[in-house]
Each structure stands twice: as structure tokens, then as C-alpha cells.
Assembly symmetry: C2
Homo-oligomer: 350 residues x 2
């Protein structure tokens, strides 16, 4: 232990850290021997091992992660970039990544990317690349995520997560398109002439959910109404619900996610339009409250956590020099509940 100079602050206490040499001295062995008992890399006599262990204990020694990282060149941390960290789908995906990473001995850092503008991306990247990371997972759920993928240095092992296949880095995918198509087909089968679409902010020109909706309508040559854009907040869905309450041509609505669907339902009901009697509404994701909603939501279940876990698995493969499948896909299950029914006679409120 070196000498403490002034009053102890956190910085000083770090400076005063016990190092491997202190342990070696106290135990009366050489530094590499301490290292050997630390890593278990080579045999150490029971006698010395015991002395080293006791010295570690008394000095309360913890090896310096920085020094280890420098010599081992295998950082045990991966970085996650996301345009949001707390919203349902994002948070669940991150949970899946973290759980799987932790099981494999990796710590995960999360960095929210405020937007797709270059300075946001650069800020996030330079912050994170200033750390030692083994690789990165990018949540490509929004334009910010897409921009991160574009800016990430090519030599950083990385996997992206999204709902629609694309070129570039390896991806973990959910087949949103098929799920959307099924949901729309369900509505069509119920007898609706066409299905309106309230979409959540898209990551690029068109996302899987929207593509699926469109192709399902095209398949039966149903009219394709203009897309209605919502934000991420349920309240934006509510405003849209109020708007479409007055439109007799709207009998079925396919929403970009469950929270927006809940908002839309609320907005419709605010205006005296009943769901599903007057208008059918479907969501997407199977949010934990979707089943509890009144009426319970017809939706497509997404397993975000396992999506995240798969993404980490692909990253791990990449780190081990393999070339992971770029298109691991999984089809979300459609769940029919009470928010959809055959079209009724719209009862438009005054």
C-alpha cells in the first residue's frame, strides 16, 4: 500500500488501491504466484495458495479490471445501443440481452441514442467506444438505431435487431410482416371491407408491420387507405381514436402496437364509438396489459426477451470467429381476443 496524502476522497481511495504486489509481499511469494492463484492458470502449492488467499482476504484485494483487460484483450462487456430504453418492447429486449449475456459472463452497458442526427450518434458512439467493449447490439427499432448501424465502425463485432431483413451486419429478426399479414387477414375474414392502419414511428420508409398490412390488403385487392401516423405515447393513439370516431368508412383498425391500440380504443370510446361492436381494433406485441384491457386486445405476441437473447447469441458466435446466421427468424403468434368482431352498423356520435 502506498501512502495516503490528503483527506481521502473517492479518487484518493482509488489511488490508494491495494495491488497485486502488496498481496505478494504480505504472502511472501512472487507476483506471478499471486496471479496464478487468482486465475487458476497453473499449479500452486497448497501452502502458498493458502497464504496468498489469506493475504487477499486481509488486504481486501480485488484485481484491477483495467490491467487485466489490457493484457487479456478480451473485454467482457458488450454495448447495447437503443433509441429508447424503457418502453415495453425495448426494455424487454434489453432484458433478454442482459440475462443471456450475464449467463455467459458478460456485462452489458446500455446507451440511449437521442436521435438519428449525426451529432447524437457520434456522441453516443464516442462515449461507448471509449470503453473496452467486445461488441455491440443495436436495437434497430427506430431511425436512431438505423443511424447507429450506419455509423458503427466496421471492425466492431455487432449484431442488430429488427423486424425486417436488411443487408449489412448480422441480425436477429422477428417476422413482423407475417404476423401483421395474419392479423389483417383475420380482420378481413371477419367481413371488413378494408383495414385502416395507425402506425408507430417507423425506423425507415416502411417497417415490417406496415409492409405486412399492405400486402395482406393487396392480396385480396382491398382498398389501401392512407396510413395514419401516431407517436409512441398512448395519448397520441387516443387523439387518433377521437379523429376516426367520426369516419364511417373506418370499421377496423390495425395499430402499430398495443399501447397505441389502447389509446385508439380509448379515443373511440370517448366519442361514443364501441369496440368491437362499431369498430374492431387490433394491436401488436401482446403487452402485459393487453389481456387485461377492456375489451381485451386481439394482437400478435412478440417475444422480445428471447429476441434479445438470440441477438446476444449471434454476437457471441461472431466473437468466436463464426459467421452467425444473418436471418434467424421467429413468427409471432396471433392471439384473438375481444377487440375484434364482424363489422356492425356504425353508430356515429353527433
Amino acid at each position: 500500500m502506498r501512502i495516503v496524502r490528503r483527506t481521502m476522497s473517492a479518487v484518493d481511495s482509488a489511488r490508494n488501491k491495494v495491488v497485486i504486489g502488496d498481496v505478494a509481499r504480505l504472502a511472501g511469494v512472487s507476483v506471478p504466484t499471486v496471479s496464478r492463484v487468482l486465475t487458476g492458470a497453473a499449479k500452486v502449492s497448497d501452502d502458498k495458495r493458502l497464504r496468498v488467499e489469506r493475504a487477499i482476504e486481509t488486504l481486501n484485494y480485488r484485481p484491477s479490471a483495467a490491467a487485466r483487460a489490457l493484457v487479456k484483450r478480451q473485454p467482457k462487456m458488450i454495448a447495447v445501443f437503443a433509441g429508447d430504453t424503457s418502453r415495453y418492447g425495448y426494455a424487454e429486449t434489453i432484458r433478454g440481452i442482459e440475462e443471456r449475456a450475464r449467463a455467459d459472463g458478460y456485462v452489458v452497458s446500455i446507451t440511449k441514442v437521442e436521435g438519428p442526427a449525426d451529432d447524437h450518434i457520434d456522441a453516443a458512439l464516442s462515449l461507448v467506444l471509449g470503453q473496452s467493449i467486445a461488441g455491440a447490439v443495436v436495437l434497430k427499432f427506430d431511425p436512431a438505431g438505423v443511424a447507429v448501424v450506419r455509423h458503427l465502425p466496421k471492425d466492431i463485432p455487432a449484431v442488430s435487431i429488427s423486424g425486417l431483413p436488411e443487408q449489412g451486419m448480422p441480425q436477429a429478426l422477428i417476422d413482423e410482416e407475417t404476423a401483421a399479414r395474419k392479423l389483417v387477414a383475420h380482420l378481413l375474414a371477419l367481413g371488413h371491407r378494408t383495414i385502416h392502419h395507425v402506425r408507430i414511428p417507423p425506423s425507415r420508409a416502411e417497417d415490417g408491420r406496415t409492409t405486412g398490412w399492405r400486402s395482406a390488403l393487396e392480396a385480396v385487392e382491398a382498398p389501401i387507405p392512407d396510413v395514419i401516423d401516431a407517436g409512441w405515447e398512448p395519448s397520441s393513439g387516443r387523439a387518433i381514436g377521437k379523429e376516426i370516431a367520426g369516419r364511417e368508412d373506418v370499421t377496423a383498425v390495425f395499430c402499430g402496437n398495443d399501447e397505441i391500440a389502447m389509446g385508439v380504443i380509448k379515443g373511440l370510446e370517448d366519442s361514443g364509438v364501441r369496440v368491437p361492436e362499431d369498430v374492431s381494433v387490433v394491436g401488436f406485441d401482446d403487452h402485459p396489459l393487453a389481456e387485461m384491457w377492456r375489451p381485451s386486445l386481439t394482437t400478435a405476441r412478440q417475444d422480445f426477451a428471447s429476441l434479445g437473447a438470440r441477438a446476444f447469441g449471434q454476437l457471441l458466435a461472431l466473437l468466436e470467429g463464426e459467421t452467425p446466421e444473418s436471418l434467424t427468424s421467429e413468427e409471432p403468434a396471433v392471439i384473438i381476443r375481444d377487440s375484434t368482431s364482424a363489422p356492425g352498423v356504425r353508430r356515429v356520435s353527433p
Copy 2:
């Protein structure tokens, strides 16, 4: 650049990394000079600076974070420990920590602690302490978080976040107790004889929400019913709602959070009990869907994100050698909506 031996894998490409010496050689300067332009620590002639910058560009050089960390001893990462990462309150708190940390140049790692058992704690701690971290924030919302606080080495700068003051490390607090008391007082003022409490899993013997409920009842000498324990899932609230639907003595329920309140309401309605006509229900947190629920939820708003931000602020103070206020408090606002009313005549379904 060193020589590549076999097929490039991620590990090899890491081994083959461009180092500061490569830049120095290409620019025709010494290594410290490169370091100087990198850090801006000392003056470098424009001529050499330019050459160095160009060399960095052509070689696509990025300094090794590990080497820097070793010599600078000031890790720019903080660790967050939490018993959950995706549930509303947790995710929002983490968001607040991350946003504030990022603004101050820190990356945040998140680690979920699976439970309060020693081996869970040790696993999480040893994983994270194997990284270079400047400090830690512990979400003490559950027994796992409480256990982390107990096990965390004393020499790691740390701040905990919870709803009830406690000794030990510095804390960021929300005054849940006062908010709970107000909520219960509101119910009492409406004319309810007593208020039942459905609590979420407590972090220790009693949490602020429960303490506040109890003291509000004690203050007016109202009978104190047994606490009803729920889990974290809305479905557990629903099961409880169904149970209490048959109890005529229950006219008002104070739930541990909004999601449980939504479940309770759903369970009551499943059984034909109306909210608030037959039973009043209040939640806690002001979840984004609380206002959208039918009936909209009376609740207490919690600003988890700012709570997280404050916690990071305290940690930063700690890192700078200051002694942060241990009890920063903030009183959640009570929001009266439609799920509460004067007691009516209970109409118990068969």
C-alpha cells in the same frame, strides 16, 4: 501493424489492432506526441499535429480503452444493480440514471440481480466488479436490491434508491409514505370506513407505501385490515380482485402500484363488482396507461426518471470527494381520477 497469421476471426482482428506506435511511425513522430494530440494535454506543432491526425485517419486508429483506463485510474462507467430491469418503475429509473450519466460522460452498465440469495448476489457482484467501474447505483426496490447493498464492498462508491429512508450508504429517496398517506386519506374523506391494502412484494418487512397506508388509518383510528399480498404481475391483482369481490367489508382498496390496481379492477369487474360505484381502487406511480384505463386511475405520480437522475448526481458528488445529502426527498403528487368515489351499496354477485 503486426502480421496476420490465420483466417481473420474477431479475436484475431482484435489482436491485429492498430496501436499508437503504428500511428507514430506513419506520422514520423514519437509515441508521446501522438498521445499529446490525442489528449490535447500539451502543445504540438501544427505540422506534426496534422500528420498525426492524418495517420489516425488512414489507419483508422482508436486508442485502447483498456490501456487508458490502466494509466488514468478514472473509469468512466458506473454500474446499476436492480432486481428487475424492464418493469415500469425500474426501467424508468434506469433511464433517468443513464440519461444523466451520459450527459456527464459516463457509460452505465446494468445488471439484473436474480434474487436475494447469496449466490445470486455474489454472481452479480463478481461479474461487475471484474469490470472497471467508478461506482454503483443500487435500486433497492426489492429484497434483491437490499441484499446487494449489504454485500457491496465498502470501498466502492455507491448510492441506493428507495422509498423509505435507511442507514448506510447515501440514498436517493421518494417520499412514498406521505403519498400513500394522502391517497388513503382521500379515500377516508370520501366516507370509507377503512381501506384495504393490496401490496406488491416488499423489499423488507415494510415499505413506504404500506407504512403510509397504516399510519393514515391509525391517524383516524380506522380498523387496520390484514394486508393482501400480490405479486408483480397484473394477473395476480386480477386474482385478488376476484377474491375480494365477494367480501362486503371491502369498499376501498389501496394497491401497491397501478398495474396491480388495474388487475384488481379487472378481477372485480370479472365478478360483476363495479369500480368505483361498488368498490373504490387506487394505484400508485401514475403509469402511462393509468389515465387511459377504464375507469381512469386515482394514483400518486412518481417521477422515477428524475429519481434516477438524482441518484446519479449523488454518486457523482461522492466520486468527487463530497459527502452528498443522504436524504434528498421529493413528494409524489396525488392525482384524483375516476376509480374512487364515495362508498355505495355493494352489489355482490352470486
